[in-house]
């Protein structure tokens, strides 16, 4: 069901902080916020839903573990552009050949400066680059993969000490063939939320997602 409030809200970075405002929660007067999340009523379009999460009661113990405040953030001016990480500038290399070795990337990307860190996630079983693995963030490696044959590309994260080195690597390697595959190279972290040109078309859907996750946070703050 479309939320009429959504249509008058412009998508701006500040809107992302809806969860800080009490008003945000009042729009969803559901007895259980969990049900607002999972019941699909806060989405602009009907969704196919699946899973136990939609049928289970909320656990009171879960409330506080993911509160919206007190998150450590990278220092950011909120403007567009790449964001420095704790120790350097991190770029994402997508489309990496599954048989790529760290040396291959080291050689290619070492041209642009000293590679401080290089994460090329290998499949535990095959030793090949993991093709289905989510990006990781500094101290945590979260590996997402599967073993479906036929996947042939993965990703790497590369850290440089200097902005100029990272920028040169992006300029020099994006769209370039590496081990017979075209890789795409871009910054990993950004200063602020996406700003899409066609946001007008998408923002209703996006905002409905915010509603969903904001409610989620509200629930946990309590």
């Amino acid at each position: 069901m479309a939320n009429p409030e959504v249509d008058i809200v412009d998508f701006e970075p500040e809107d992302d902080d809806l969860m800080e405002e009490e008003g945000a929660i009042d729009e969803a007067p559901h007895p259980k916020i969990r049900s607002a999340i999972t019941g699909g009523s806060s989405f602009s379009a009907p969704k196919k839903t699946k899973g136990r999460g939609f049928r289970e009661e909320t656990e009171a113990e879960r409330n506080n573990r993911f509160a919206s405040k007190d998150f450590d953030s990278l220092d950011s001016d909120g403007g567009p552009g790449p964001q420095r990480s704790i120790e350097g500038w991190i770029i994402l290399v997508a489309g990496v050949h599954e048989e790529a070795q760290e040396d291959d990337l080291q050689n290619a990307f070492g041209e642009f400066g000293e590679v401080r860190n290089l994460h090329l996630n290998l499949d535990r079983r095959t030793g090949f680059v993991k093709v289905n693995q989510l990006p990781l963030f500094s101290t945590l490696q979260t590996s997402f993969c599967n073993d479906t044959p036929g996947n042939e590309e993965g990703y790497a994260l590369i850290e440089y000490g200097k902005f100029e080195e990272a920028q040169a690597a992006i300029s020099g390697m994006d769209g370039v063939e590496l081990l017979t595959q075209i890789v795409t190279v871009d910054w990993a972290f950004s200063n602020g939320p996406f700003k899409r040109r066609n946001m007008r078309k998408r923002f209703v859907a996006l905002l409905s997602s915010f509603t969903f996750s904001d409610a989620h946070y509200k629930e946990r703050i309590r």
Binding site: K47, K50, R52, S73, A94, Q141, F189, P193
Partner: protein, 140 residues
């Protein structure tokens, strides 16, 4: 180039939780990717009186696109948790994803190894989950 269904649809949300309650309190790790690129991460343990770690940052569209590709290629959205092991005292995992017009919210126990996968009622589906969600903490 591979291209799974729905990966270019603008709407994408992902949340993963793994945790348990024991003598060090509610120990868990949770993160979420929001549609605007915000990544939040929380990690809690009361071990040695440690306190909760909460971090947040913004990812570029390129990273989110890669995430969508990974989810899409994994075909996790086609699975169902109805025959997966229920969460128990050992722990609980949750995976919630919104992509395109599909929304999954799966819950299961912790999975120790592939033996657990094989002995489950849905080894095919649980294997996809197991390989999609492999958490290590070895990177420094």
């Amino acid at each position: 180039m591979m291209s799974g269904g729905g990966e270019d649809n603008g709407e994408f949300y992902l949340r993963y939780y793994v945790g348990h309650k024991g003598k060090f309190g509610h120990e868990f790790l949770e993160f979420e990717f929001r549609p605007d690129g915000k990544l939040r991460y929380a990690n809690n343990s009361n071990y040695k009186n440690d306190t909760m770690i909460r971090k947040e940052m913004f990812l570029t569209p390129s990273v989110l696109k890669e995430c969508r590709r990974i989810i899409s290629d994994s075909e996790i959205m086609k699975e169902d948790d109805s025959n997966w092991p229920e969460p128990d005292r050992v722990g609980r995992q949750e995976l919630e994803i919104v992509m395109g017009n599909e929304h999954i919210s799966f819950t299961t126990s912790k999975i120790g190894s592939l033996v657990d996968v094989q002995s489950s009622k849905d080894p095919e589906g649980l294997r996809i989950f197991y390989y999609l969600v492999q958490v290590g903490t070895t990177i420094g």
